[in-house]
């Protein structure tokens, strides 16, 4: 079975859907024209981009003029936060975000702190949810931006976005959300949820890598990211990534139209994994909210063992997963998300994230749990922490 790959890291990236690939292919060769040129093959490409932009806009209930194509989620996050900070600096220099954001948001905020901005990092509860009262109490007259992620990439917790949007609107503060993990998985309505800016990425949803978008509500002042051309309403110049745009739009269109079935399939596998792990592996803790949770996310901490060891052993069985252990990040600290939900360091080191897709089968899920049981037992038999625990509890 080790020859077969069981891919359970769909929050890291996904394979390109065959329909998306098929839609992209002509744009590499015969339809290669620069969309800004005047002749027919270029005009066709310009139209294709317009159609793609409209399709993307529909998926979040907005209009095409508010969609700006970027190179991906990290770029969208950087652009939204830096450019809004710059554009609204006269109003104030205070930004509110959460402690469990992706580094594309956190490191951007840290960068702004070095340039005269003040940032409030909201706590989260043990399930990773932000506290709306703390959020509202943190708003000051000089607050210009709230940035809270739609759903967390590690523990899958889905934040109360509509409520945050309402608070932001009431106080006249811009609201940005990093929806890289939630896009096409959760229902997103930027109008109903009062979202002013939203980041998303192509390769998490069955589209290609190197493409994403930023939704910017009409009327929001935001500085251009790249100067030098009329593309993206002059805000992000440069010849469009035509194949990427076509592929992402196709993948997004399909994912949204199939959302109900995909979600049902994923939840079934997710809940099966959670139920079996909780029943069959002792000293395991589910991280993230049980209910307000992405359909494809499973995240456990296994006490007394370390995440990287688990990943290497899973890889030996053909299973791709990820961990919040320090050893997988290149630093000595485990994941900031797991620390923010209050896990002690040594338990955060033993975390494992499995993110399934609608293609994942129950047989694969069972194989993963069976393998995991064996691996956890083996690593615990080698662990001095487990040895001490057993001796102390005799």
């Amino acid at each position: 079975m080790a020859d077969k790959i069981i891919y359970m890291d769909n929050a890291a990236t996904t394979p390109v859907r065959p329909e998306a690939l098929a839609a992209m292919l002509p744009y590499f060769t015969e339809k290669f024209g620069n969309p800004s040129s005047i002749y027919r093959i270029s005009a066709e490409n310009k139209n294709a981009i317009t159609t793609a932009r409209e399709k993307i806009a529909e998926t979040i209930h907005t209009t095409a003029e508010n969609i700006y194509f970027t190179a991906g989620g990290s770029e969208s996050d950087n652009w939204a936060i830096k450019a809004a900070a710059e554009a609204y600096a006269e109003k104030g220099k205070h930004i509110i975000t959460s402690k469990i954001e992706h580094h594309a948001v956190l490191h951007t905020c840290e960068y702004l702190e070095k340039h005269g901005f003040e940032v409030t990092y909201l706590d989260v509860d043990e399930n990773g949810l932000v506290d709306l009262k703390q959020l509202e109490a943190s708003i000051r007259p000089d607050t210009i931006l709230i940035s809270v992620m739609f759903a967390n990439n590690e523990i899958g917790t889905v934040e109360p976005i509509a409520e945050i949007g309402a608070i932001a609107k009431n106080h006249g503060v811009l609201f940005h959300t990093d929806a890289v993990q939630a896009y096409t998985k959760e229902n997103i309505d930027v109008e109903a949820m009062h979202i002013d800016m939203l980041s998303a990425s192509g390769h998490k949803i069955g589209g290609p890598k190197g493409i994403g978008f930023l939704y910017i509500r009409k009327g929001v002042k935001i500085r251009s990211l790249i100067h030098g051309g009329a593309q993206e309403r002059r805000r992000r110049a440069g010849t469009e990534n035509v194949t990427g745009i076509i592929g992402m739009a196709k993948a997004a269109e399909l994912a949204v139209s199939e959302q109900k079935e995909i979600t049902e399939k994923e939840k079934k596998i997710r809940d099966h994994l959670i139920a079996r792990i909780e029943k069959e592996i002792p000293y395991a803790r589910l991280n993230g909210d049980r209910e307000k949770r992405l359909a494809n996310n499973v995240n456990f901490s296994f006490r007394f063992i370390e995440g990287e060891s688990m990943l290497i052993m899973l890889d030996g069985k053909g299973i791709c997963a990820s961990s919040g252990s320090a050893c997988t990040s290149g630093s000595l600290d485990p994941s900031h998300v797991l620390l923010a939900i209050g896990l002690p360091h040594e338990i955060a080191h033993g975390s494992l994230r499995l993110t399934v897709s609608d293609q994942t089968t129950l047989e694969e899920a069972d194989f993963v749990v069976d393998s995991l049981k064996e691996i956890v037992e083996k690593l615990r038999s080698m662990s001095p922490l487990y040895e001490d625990f057993i001796k102390n509890n005799k």
Binding site: E308, G316, P384, L385, E387
Partner: protein, 145 residues
């Protein structure tokens, strides 16, 4: 990212386990950083290490360096074992990625800590051996789930 030797020692670690009534036991590292090594030594009357076992909480490199360290000290005298450096452990494993060098330091410290315990138990002084740092953090409360 790991050499074949590291992978071999990680997947088939040598000398995992405990020694009952060991001559010396040393535990080093810190759960906070994600690495704890415990080394058990069985030393005969001629100060020769007859047996060595380990238990490790940590990444692939931590397990592999522990395993290699036990292989290196077995059959050595106490004084020879004291001279085993982290460099020697790394070389024996055909190298480690730069971010994992601290794991090999831990292996060296684990040997020293076990030797220190042996020396203390037997009331002897081993030339060139310093008291190991103990930062395992056992005072930390265990949380129940």
């Amino acid at each position: 990212m790991y050499s074949e030797k590291v992978m071999d020692h990680f997947q088939n670690p040598r000398n995992v386990g405990e020694i009952e009534e060991a001559s010396g036991v040393g535990t080093v590292g810190n759960a906070k950083c994600g690495d704890i090594m415990r080394m058990y030594l069985d030393i005969d009357d001629h100060q020769v290490i007859r047996d060595c076992k380990f238990k490790t909480f940590g990444c692939g490199a931590a397990v592999a360096t522990s395993s290699m360290a036990t292989e290196l000290v077995k059959g050595k005298t106490v004084n020879e074992a004291l001279k085993i450096t982290n460099q020697a452990v790394m070389e024996a494993l055909d190298g480690l990625p730069p971010v994992k060098v601290h794991c090999s330091l831990l292996a060296e410290e684990a040997i020293h800590a076990a030797l220190w315990d042996y020396a203390e138990k037997n009331g002897i002084k081993i030339e060139g051996l310093a008291k190991p740092k103990s930062d395992i953090g056992e005072e930390e409360e265990e949380e129940e789930y």
